[in-house]
């Protein structure tokens, strides 16, 4: 066989496989984060929704403060606060219907709580009496996910399965700016787009992954610009503007519900407190930056809007605060009780039925506990 026999024909056209596919333009995010509060768009917002958001923000802030306080009292092993990020947490919860699913990261207990989860159950992982402290099916909240970005493919798979079954279910998954660097982020978004799965990916860009600032995490124009590479819309939103986050997420959820496929939403926000109570943020950032962000506080932004426009009065504000205090008091009280633990639970859920090997170990621990009990 000679080379010439092997050679194909000449045709000076563009490569045949290539066709202009999806138009990229509508997938690209706007040049600025979308805002509602303090802009003309605010006039369109539903006052009732704004008041609901406000009450939840106030409650969320109080929840964060209470949880952090519990770490100091030794009642929580660790707490990653979402103080300053409440608008994202709350809007994510409120953008979903009951039948939808939330896939939180380890920082998003507040989103789970705003969705209806008992705060004590939400904090189980961080108290340390078990891992996931709730039945995920009850409120359709997936287990809080510690390994970063690894829950994103779960959200895609669940949404895909629901669609295959003909169920009207959207999954909303939350990930941090740092988490976008993981391979699982990439694979999840790609699967979602190829399968046109009803998923919304919410990136809470809070400026840091523990000590690592965004500039060391990515060189992209914005994280929302990643969307076009998967063929899904990317949206950029002011993450401290609860009305804006809610609007953008609601639109993305609707888009997904209507068969439009996934959306990537980047919410620009800031982690006002340290990474967790165990972290020392002064090692990697200055007070000035934090102070600047305190000037863009999600509660203040919304309260200003509500007050300015006469949508809330002193009593309304007080009611929100009181409700938050009640939640906090109840949480404090219940967290101050020692959980009742059964060490034998260690073996109860490894498999549907313990293996013969586990049964032996179970017997061993039982005997040890008995001996311990007798000694006392």
């Amino acid at each position: 066989m000679t080379v010439m026999e092997q050679r194909g024909a000449y045709r000076p056209s563009p490569p045949p496989a290539w066709q202009p596919r999806t138009d990229p333009a509508p997938l690209l995010p706007d040049a600025e984060p979308y805002r509602v509060l303090g802009t003309e768009a605010a006039a369109q917002a539903d006052p009732e929704l704004l008041r609901r958001l406000y009450a939840q923000l106030v409650r969320g802030r109080r929840y964060n403060a209470q949880a952090t306080a519990l770490t100091k009292q030794g009642r929580l092993a660790v707490y990653p606060s979402s103080t300053g990020q409440e608008a994202c947490e709350v809007a994510a919860a409120l953008a979903l219907e009951d039948r939808d699913w939330l896939f939180p990261s380890y920082r998003d207990t507040l989103a789970a709580v705003a969705r209806g989860l008992d705060p004590v159950q939400a904090l189980t992982l961080l108290r340390g009496d078990w891992h996931t402290g709730y039945d995920p099916h009850e409120h359709r909240v997936a287990p809080l996910c510690t390994p970063l970005a690894t829950q994103l493919p779960h959200a895609v798979g669940l949404a895909h399965a629901a669609r295959l079954k003909g169920d009207d279910v959207v999954a909303l998954a939350i990930v941090g700016d740092g988490g976008t660097s993981e391979g699982d982020f990439h694979e999840a978004l790609n699967f979602a787009a190829v399968w046109q799965a009803p998923v919304v990916f919410l990136v809470q860009n809070n400026g840091f992954a523990i000590s690592v600032p965004l500039a060391k995490q990515t060189a992209a124009p914005s994280l929302a610009h990643k969307a076009v590479g998967y063929g899904m819309p990317g949206r950029l939103v002011d993450g401290n503007d609860a009305a804006a986050v809610h609007e953008v997420l609601t639109a993305a959820v609707r888009h997904a519900r209507e068969g439009g496929g996934p959306t990537l939403v980047e919410a620009v926000t800031y982690r006002v407190e340290a990474h967790t109570n165990a972290d020392d943020a002064t090692r990697y950032r200055g007070d000035a930056e934090v102070e600047t962000w305190r000037g863009h506080d999600p509660i203040a932004l919304l309260e200003h809007e509500l007050t300015e426009r006469g949508l809330i009065d002193e009593a309304g504000i007080r009611a929100a605060r009181d409700a938050a205090e009640t939640m906090a008091a109840d949480l404090r009280e219940r967290m101050n009780q020692d959980p009742v633990l059964d060490p034998m639970d260690l073996f109860a859920h490894v498999y549907a039925e313990p293996t013969p090997q586990l049964r032996e170990q179970q017997d061993q621990l039982r005997a040890e506990l008995q001996a311990e009990g007798e000694q006392r």
Binding site: D135, H137, P147, G157, A161, F191
Partner: protein
Amino acid sequence: MTTVALKPATMAQALTRAMRDAMAADPSVHVMGEDVGTLGGVFRVTDGLAKEFGEDRCTDTPLAEAGILGTAVGMAMYGLRPVVEMQFDAFAYPAFEQLISHVAKMRNRTRGAMPLPITVRVPYGGGIGGVEHHSDSSEAYYMATPGLHVVTPATVADAYGLLRAAIASDDPVVFLEPKRLYWSKDSWNPDEPATVEPIGRAVVRRSGRSATLITYGPSVPVCLEAAEAAREEGWDLEVVDLRSLVPFDDDTVAASVRRTGRAVVVHESGGFGGPGGEIAARVTERCFHHLEAPVLRVAGFDIPYPPPMLERHHLPGVDRILDAVGRLQWEAES
């Protein structure tokens, strides 16, 4: 459902049949992976499934193993029973995090609220002249991970029975398919498929009185051959096929070794840190006073899997097994 005459059948065909029957019996069974749909898999083990059940039930995924297993987790969360194919042993490694931190742990993490009935099919082992990264024996990784079942068939009938059991299991199962047995044939009758036994039972493939060869998967035929050859040397070897590495059938194995008083563990996986250490240790714990000699191990060398032209020197063969049997301190006998 039409009946296909598969008599004699290959192990690959039995596996296909197991998935087909499972999919027909239960609409929540979904097959997914790279090239499993239109192509029917690079080993043709999923051949015909997409055609019969549609692409939503047997799906060609994007090329990303963590994504495949990770989305399977989500699908299982929603009540499906994904059967995931990893194209080759070493290409399952990108999915390791999903397997270890989620698949194996989800039931436990959620106090049983979220079991994950996922079957992860992994063609494994060497002997087929594969280039690098295509012949790993990765069972040690899976065995060391609580929450996973780990099974591997050595016969055509077991391929069917174990895969049906794996898919039916409410726990995740790593299903290791010995690549070099894919084309092994047997007069297995697919119309009377072996009763599906629960996972976890070893089987004595050959009875003998001199010593026990404890083995599984690709090494089972090699051990049976060795047992035949051993007759010339005057040894009557028993061969135990573990079939399930997790759970481990201590009863069957210990009963055999107590009878014979001597044992060799045989596998293709590297010896150091491989399954043989665990097996030898547990046998010794249980049968110490019945042992005439230490439990020996015949395994692959502790090296990266060799290139095709050298693999025969690596794989435990009949001679190496007989050598080990010869070292079982027979002098003590006489």
